[in-house]
């Protein structure tokens, strides 16, 4: 059963150099994006470890987004290539375990793509609203 007015909780890991700047620009440009996204700033998208994502799901996130620089634009040259390899592997593993891989997305958003940040979050929010609460991957004791 999907509850009425379900507002999903989204955790977004944003790379300091691109996606966080993109989100910042969305703010200064007064673009309105869904407020249920919680942004965590990370030095690089490759800083995001698999356990961070799993931990977010365990403790109440309905969706997790990893946002980094476009391939080729990484501040540290190759960081997002590593992200790509790792996250692809994680996605195939979670899908193999039937853990709703749609709840986890990876996007490349650069510092001036405020509109893309907005549309990505909106789109993801809609997907999660359709999917409902993430009961399959949540620790039931987390109090959410």
């Amino acid at each position: 059963m999907i509850e009425q007015n379900f507002e999903p909780k989204i955790v977004a890991f944003c790379c300091n150099w691109c996606s966080y700047a993109g989100a910042d620009l969305a703010g200064t440009g007064r673009l309105k994006y869904p407020e249920n996204v919680r942004i965590i700033r990370v030095p690089c998208s490759s800083r995001v470890e698999v356990q961070m994502i799993m931990r977010a799901f365990q403790n109440g996130a309905d969706g997790v987004m990893v946002a980094g620089c476009h391939p080729g634009d990484c501040h540290y040259d190759t960081g997002n290539y590593h992200t790509r390899r790792r996250m692809m592997l994680l996605q195939s593993l979670t899908s193999f375990l039937g853990m709703e891989p749609d709840r986890f997305i990876v996007k490349w958003i650069s510092g001036n793509e405020a509109a893309k940040f907005k549309s990505t979050v909106e789109e993801f929010n809609e997907t999660l609203k359709k999917l409902g609460p993430a009961d399959k991957v949540r620790d039931q004791r987390c109090g959410i």
């Binding site: 356990q51 931990r55 390899r85 592997l89 593993l93 039931q140």
Partner: protein, 330 residues
């Protein structure tokens, strides 16, 4: 198949006598039928307990990380998969090659006890095994059956591509090369369950794994038995942040543990199958590892951890890797 136990004992005695090594790590007969347990021969008298047979499952290389063996000269009995595990440890400078004397053995696969039990009515206590050239003869007071090796060998061994350490890499090699079965099986055939699970829809997959993972007692046997799971401080032993607690009622915690465990050894797994073998609840953990190996091989080219000299697929990344995340936007 030639029995190498006697040769092994001679070598071990020689090594201990001449003080070349302080201890010989090998296998001895266990208390259960068809069980070989790790055994450390420290004196000349211990040597007669050493054996090597088709039930010598466990990898011994992880004992080297124990404080007990630090700074000592150790001789090690190695099958192909054990060597791969050790090679990863050597590459990471976890152990010093100069302190080791490696006794490679020609492995032709180990027997799977659960498969063996299905073939006979009698209990394992009552049976005797005879290893013939292409068949295994099982005899008990009730029956005499002959089964081909591929029916009773471990599935991991049927898929094995590196059954014996290379001659140049070990100090001595025992036995003669050859395969126990003539049937060549591909990895997909050996792990047919992966294909079956992939074909299920998401809900079925979730239910399947829910049933499997909910049995987990979080005993960490799979982690401890794994020859490549060698972090100095394991993520699950860390106290800050402490990711898991002792409550085993939450599926989310099981998912967390098994996803992270499989992921952390994804490009290091040597495919020995010890994780599933030691699992007291018979959770098919090797399927997670094999699935990841399959994905890695599919996208980044085939790579055998502990054999190939090239860097592991997750230790580097390239600009022209496939990008599954941008596709939908184009």
């Amino acid at each position: 198949m030639r029995n190498i136990t006697n040769e092994l004992r001679e070598i071990a005695e020689d090594l201990l006598e001449s003080k070349k090594v302080d201890v010989v790590l090998g296998y001895a007969k266990g208390e259960q039928p068809y069980q070989s347990v790790p055994f450390a021969a420290k004196k000349k008298e211990d040597v007669e307990n050493l054996i090597f047979d088709i039930f010598s499952y466990s990898s011994l290389s992880k004992y080297l990380l124990d404080d007990m063996y630090r700074g000592k000269k150790v001789a090690l009995v190695l099958k192909g998969c054990d060597y791969r595990g050790l090679k990863i440890m050597l590459d990471e400078s976890r152990v010093d090659r100069d302190d080791l004397y490696l006794i490679g053995v020609e492995c032709r696969g180990v027997l799977e006890k659960s498969k063996l039990k299905k073939k006979i009515d009698a209990t394992l206590f009552e049976t005797t095994l005879d290893l013939k050239e292409d068949k295994l003869a099982i005899s008990s007071s009730k029956e005499n059956v002959e089964v081909p090796y591929e029916d009773v060998l471990s599935p991991y061994c049927l898929a094995c591509e590196f059954s014996t350490p290379h001659k140049e890499e070990v100090d001595i090699i025992l036995g003669e090369p050859g395969k126990m079965t003539n049937k060549e099986l591909t990895t997909d055939e050996c792990f047919a369950e992966i294909g079956q699970i992939e074909k299920m829809d998401e809900e079925q997959r979730f239910e399947y794994w829910k049933k499997q993972l909910n049995r987990c007692k979080r005993c960490y046997s799979c982690r401890n038995a794994c020859p490549v799971c060698t972090c100095r401080v394991c993520l699950f032993d860390r106290e800050n942040p402490s990711y898991l607690d002792s409550d085993t009622s939450q599926l989310a915690q099981h998912q967390f543990y098994h996803v992270i465990r499989a992921f952390h050894i994804s490009d290091r797994c040597v495919g020995c199958g010890q994780c599933s073998r030691v699992c007291p609840e018979n959770i098919p953990l090797h399927l997670l590892n094999q699935k990841l190996i399959k994905e890695l091989n599919k996208f980044y080219g085939s790579y055998l951890p502990g054999v190939d000299e090239q860097p592991a697929p997750l230790s580097f990344a390239k600009a022209d890797d496939p990008d599954p995340f941008e596709k939908e936007e184009k």
